[in-house]
């Protein structure tokens, strides 16, 4: 990876750091009450993520990383502790307010894409805008733009079944982007993809991080994928076990160049 690129990334990060961090988690606990037993999924997690960071969350299954992501994604509320999103304590908000925050500030990308079947790429991408009450014409325009960003221009009317896995994940990323969120939460986004397509997807994330200064939290258990991030947080037994910057982050464009181009025709299938 060229040194200049790393330098330029650092430079762009620093000025955006405001007085309050984007994500500030303090002593977060989550306990599931299953009747006879209580499962402590999170046992006091504290973490700060600044705007524009690209963080990989790693850990074995059961380490609490999924629970943590659900908290960060405002899909669930902590049992104890605080979660400040852009300075606002969201751990006490109502379900309705949480839905609003998910809509405006968070974009989700899932392992299984989770696109609506028998619905065009365009309409899938429009979905968050419908819930924020954006007007029809503007929805179309913004959805088109988001699809262009992920390189799917001309596939607007394709249904998920007519798209390859990589293309479907791009639609999902476009959907996550369309409402201009502060954070993208990607839960094993490459888990269902072959290695080349995985790198392509990581390339998109890197581009978004670099060009738009988007904050990206990525759950993965593949060290190869985590290498594309700038910081790796390792979970174990409901706690943060390690939190360190990536020494020499891989560049997706570079990596692609060195990869054999065998699966190139897969996309057209």
């Amino acid at each position: 990876m060229p040194e200049e690129l790393l330098e330029s990334q650092r430079e762009t990060e620093i000025p955006t750091r405001g007085p309050t961090p984007l994500i500030q988690v303090e002593n977060l606990h989550k306990t599931y009450d299953l009747g006879e037993v209580q499962v402590h999924a999170l046992r006091g997690v504290s973490l700060t993520v600044e705007a524009g960071e690209f963080v990989a969350i790693m850990g074995a299954s059961g380490s609490g990383k999924s629970t943590f992501m659900n908290m960060i994604g405002c899909l669930d509320r902590p049992t104890r502790g605080h979660y400040f999103l852009e300075g606002q304590d969201v751990s006490t908000l109502s379900k309705r307010d949480l839905a609003r925050i998910r809509n405006r500030k968070i974009g989700f990308v899932f392992q299984g894409f989770n696109l609506l079947s028998r619905t065009s790429a365009m309409e899938n991408v429009e979905l968050p805008l419908i819930y924020s009450g954006v007007h029809h014409e503007e929805r179309i325009e913004r959805a088109r733009e988001a699809l262009r960003t992920v390189g799917l221009e001309g596939r607007e009317e394709h249904h998920p079944s007519q798209l390859s896995g990589g293309q479907q994940q791009r639609v999902a990323i476009a959907r996550a982007l369309v409402n201009r969120p502060s954070i993208i939460l990607a839960d094993e986004p490459t888990g269902n993809l072959d290695s080349r397509t995985s790198v392509e997807i990581m390339g998109i994330f890197q581009g978004l991080s670099r060009e738009r200064n988007l904050t990206i939290l990525l759950v993965t258990h593949e060290p190869d994928i985590a290498r594309f991030a700038h910081r790796v947080v390792l979970f174990r037994d409901g706690k943060v076990r390690r939190d360190a910057p990536v020494e020499d982050p891989a560049d997706a464009v570079e990596t692609l160049r060195t990869m054999p181009a065998v699966e190139d025709d897969e996309e057209e299938a």
């Binding site: 899909l75 989770n114 979905l127 409402n179």
Partner: protein
């Protein structure tokens, strides 16, 4: 999420499963169609009865001379001589619930014109008679009180008589002979068709009752008094008061039978109409049971749909749908389903009523209120049976829903 977008999303979701949607709608279509069709048949029948009631006249209370029995031999009705013009005048003056009335006498006569003759019933009445019966004069004019006072030889004839004596000739101004007396025809009555009891109402001659009393029957009493109560509700009090007045005037002892008979044909017709209405109501409620079954069908399909689309619900929640948004989505699907079904059902019902009319010659009428009620009712069914599945969808935990296989 605005209304239009909600409906669009609902339509799209329904369009994805066309077969299932159609079958679910069929329940509502059949239910609404059956309700509309039974109401249309009932309404048609009731209209026919109403028409007959209207034809009878204006809240008629018909007093006829009663039977007498002398030495155990009972004569038929109109056999007594006790009903008089004075009775008629007393009713007119003393009973305010009676509006117009006409004294009457009748006789079976042979009417002769040129070389034609025809046996018919002559009715001697007062000028108010035609008004009470709502029986307009087609050609010429009716007679006046002056002609009653002078017992003039004038008459009005019904269309059946015209047909049998005159053919295509215009009878007004012509003279016919009845019991060798000349009578000038001053008018032709419009067609009244059949009475509810099947008699040809147009086979009649009408003239002043004085003329019939003096020149045809040679009597000084009346055979009937046709009264008109001031309103349909006044019929019963009028009957009762007329009865009391006549008993008093005829000096009947409490243990003596009436020497007159009071009838109100409207009561009969009303009873018939009432029975018809009850029948319609009964049939319509049976039909609406099928609407209920249709509603249960909607609920069933919506529940399946919620389960099938658990992941979709999870995705929608993740991208910002609130519980209310999800609830509205499923509720509007149920509503759109039932409303389209209801509308189609109305069309099917109207079609079926037309088919009944053309195949069985039954009169049918689809009342506009029934259409409105049917559509509203199907919307109600949609909301009622869609609520629980929609609630279930809205209550899903987004994390669980996203993980659902």
């Amino acid at each position: 999420m605005d209304l239009l977008a909600t409906v669009r999303v609902a339509l799209r979701a329904l369009a994805r499963n066309k077969m299932r949607t159609t079958l679910t709608m069929l329940g509502i279509i059949i239910g609404v169609g059956a309700v509309i069709c039974t109401v249309a048949i009932g309404e048609g029948a009731s209209n026919q009865v109403q028409e007959q009631i209207r034809n009878l006249g204006d809240n008629i209370v018909f007093v006829s001379a009663g039977s007498v029995s002398s030495n155990g031999v009972r004569m038929g009705s109109a056999a007594t001589k006790t009903l008089t013009l004075a009775d008629a005048k007393a009713i007119q003056q003393q009973i305010p619930v009676v509006g117009k009335l006409s004294p009457g006498v009748g006789a079976q006569v042979q009417v002769v014109y040129g070389n034609q003759n025809w046996s018919t019933r002559v009715r001697g009445v007062s000028p108010d008679y035609l008004e009470i019966r709502r029986w307009p004069v087609l050609n010429g004019s009716g007679f006046s009180q002056r002609e009653v006072d002078s017992a003039a030889n004038v008459c009005l004839i019904g269309l059946t008589v015209v047909e049998n004596l005159f053919g295509s000739e215009d009878p007004v101004g012509k003279t016919v002979r009845i019991q060798n007396l000349p009578f000038r025809i001053i008018g032709v009555l419009s067609s009244k068709g059949q009475s509810p009891f099947g008699q040809d109402e147009d086979d009649t001659v009408i003239m002043p009752f004085t003329t019939v009393q003096k020149k045809i029957s040679g009597i000084d009493w009346l055979q009937f008094i046709m009264c008109s109560a001031t309103s349909p509700e006044a019929i019963a009090p009028a009957r009762q008061q007329i009865g009391a007045l006549l008993r008093q005037r005829h000096r009947l002892r409490p243990d003596e039978d009436d020497d007159f008979i009071i009838r109100s044909p409207m009561d009969l017709a009303n009873a018939q109409a009432q029975a018809g209405r009850i029948m319609t109501l009964l049939l319509a409620s049976i039909a609406s049971v099928s609407l209920l079954v249709g509603g249960i069908g909607i609920m069933n399909i919506m529940l399946v749909s919620v389960t099938e689309r658990t992941r979709e619900i999870g995705v929608r929640m993740a991208v910002g749908a609130t519980e209310q948004d999800v609830q509205m989505q499923f509720l509007s699907e149920a509503l759109v389903l039932s409303l389209i079904g209801g509308t189609a059902g109305v069309l099917v019902g109207i079609g079926a009523s037309l088919a009944v009319t053309s195949a069985l010659q039954w009169p049918t009428r689809v009342p506009p209120q029934a259409i409105a009620i049917a559509v509203l009712f199907s919307a109600g069914v949609g909301i009622f049976f869609g609520y629980y599945p929609a609630r279930k969808a809205a209550r899903l935990d987004p994390i669980e829903a996203l993980r659902y296989e």
